[in-house]
Assembly symmetry: C2
Homo-oligomer: 263 residues x 2
């Protein structure tokens, strides 16, 4: 069992990934990002990104219903179905899903962000949250019958609402349910870089101890990513491979030892 | 087993349909239209509808790759996932699919339209076609495990391409696979009208013989619809109900005898 997460950058080679999947013998689940595509569609629609600054000074994206519409169009609609088409063109029997479908990824909706407005502190609640559990029986039902699930946001909250969520956290809930031996993360870089700005500073191997040490050295979004990686091992992953999603054969090269191997 | 087809008009009461589905005991599959939504999104994107006139004078929509993108955004993205969300809010474990997913609806791509351009006759081939078969085992796998499939275009062609298709024809392939006893079609009218322009001219009952007679009296799109209806009976349907999708409880009222009952 393999979990493959493809980043949502504009340069990720989705056609190459689909062609590689046709060569795989073991079953797999794919999680797709679509940040760049979403931003492009938002631009075409003239739909601005709404951001809020909390009373504690933290700025975050506010996922209102228009933002969920946009996610449904760009992630669940365009990205997911065009990738399923690429897979079907290669003979891979892909089946696209969001976390809503069959309650595949259930999450807890965020409680809200405290903001100052008109001299008062208000709690503004949006449609975003943390994934808590994946529907393992549904995934196994599909995998056992030869289908290859392709997953995008949104996910579903306790009350059935569509909510936005982070793919790193979704991969963690998938791993809790599937106990994959290997997880491949395809990004717009050669792998984990010692120096973020230097593409030649690739770290080719990393132990779990080193992963924890590095987690202490970073902040913000990178810290969240490192924590998500650590949780994958806690959930039984033997190997996590972070590799270049822009090359001709992204999955093939990742499994052949390019990129960063963490174990 | 019940197949429910909801039209793509702006006034179809999708929330009401989702609430009704929560009351159903028998399993069902839903097929959703989204014409009005697609046209709205096309307008927001400034994407014009491309039409071609064939050498024989017949005008039809030309489904280029932009049109398929639009279908993926509006049908597979927005319409399908918002409806799945409405269902999940009501406790119905809906699961949204297109014909691409697991090759759920396989079709044959159209050969092309003969057009005159620059003094020559050219064959212009688009991404549209006729559905030929539904993946019955996948539908049964989902239904037997408590999931309720919600289906929208696109469908998949022999080579894995996403293609546009008519929902009436899709319902026919579903019926060939599922042999539903009843098929409910929810439209923006009280049912089948004797006079298209007079909403009080509802035909409450129609025999299969009468259906065939009426097919001879109509032309164009309506003739295609009547032919599709006739094929449903040929594929084993006991009853087809054409009813108002705009009322408070569309499915409930259709099953309670409102609309047109054909048997």
């Amino acid at each position: 069992m393999l979990i493959i997460k493809a980043g949502g950058g504009a340069d990720i080679n989705l056609e190459g990934i689909a062609a590689d999947l046709a060569e795989l013998i073991e079953p797999f689940v794919v999680v797709l990002g679509a940040n760049a595509l979403r931003d492009r569609v938002a631009g075409q629609l003239g739909q601005p990104k709404v951001e809020l600054t909390s009373v504690s000074g933290y700025t975050s994206v506010y996922s209102d219903q228009d933002a969920i519409d946009l996610i449904m169009m760009s992630y669940a609609g365009l990205r997911n179905r065009r990738f399923v088409e690429m897979c079907q063109r290669q003979g891979v029997n892909a089946l696209g899903l969001t976390g809503l479908d069959g309650r595949l990824i259930e999450g807890a909706r965020n409680r809200g962000i405290r903001v100052r407005a008109e001299g008062k502190t208000l709690l503004k609640r949006d449609f975003s949250g943390k994934p808590k559990r994946a529907n393992g029986p549904l995934l196994e039902l599909l995998l056992d019958n030869g289908y290859r699930p392709v997953l995008t946001i949104p996910i579903v909250d306790e009350q059935g609402f569509a909510i936005n969520s982070e793919n790193d956290d979704i991969v963690n809930t998938l791993q809790d349910a599937l106990h994959a031996a290997r997880i491949v993360q395809l990004i717009e870089a050669p792998g984990f870089l010692d120096n973020h700005d230097d593409p030649t500073s690739l770290v080719t191997q990393m132990s779990r101890t080193e992963l924890e040490q590095r987690e202490d050295q970073v902040t913000g979004r990178m810290k969240r990513k490192m924590l998500a990686l650590r949780k994958l091992f806690a959930a039984g992953a033997a190997e996590v491979i972070i590799a270049d999603g822009r090359v001709a054969q992204p999955v093939h090269e990742a499994l052949a030892g390019k990129g960063t191997l963490i174990r």
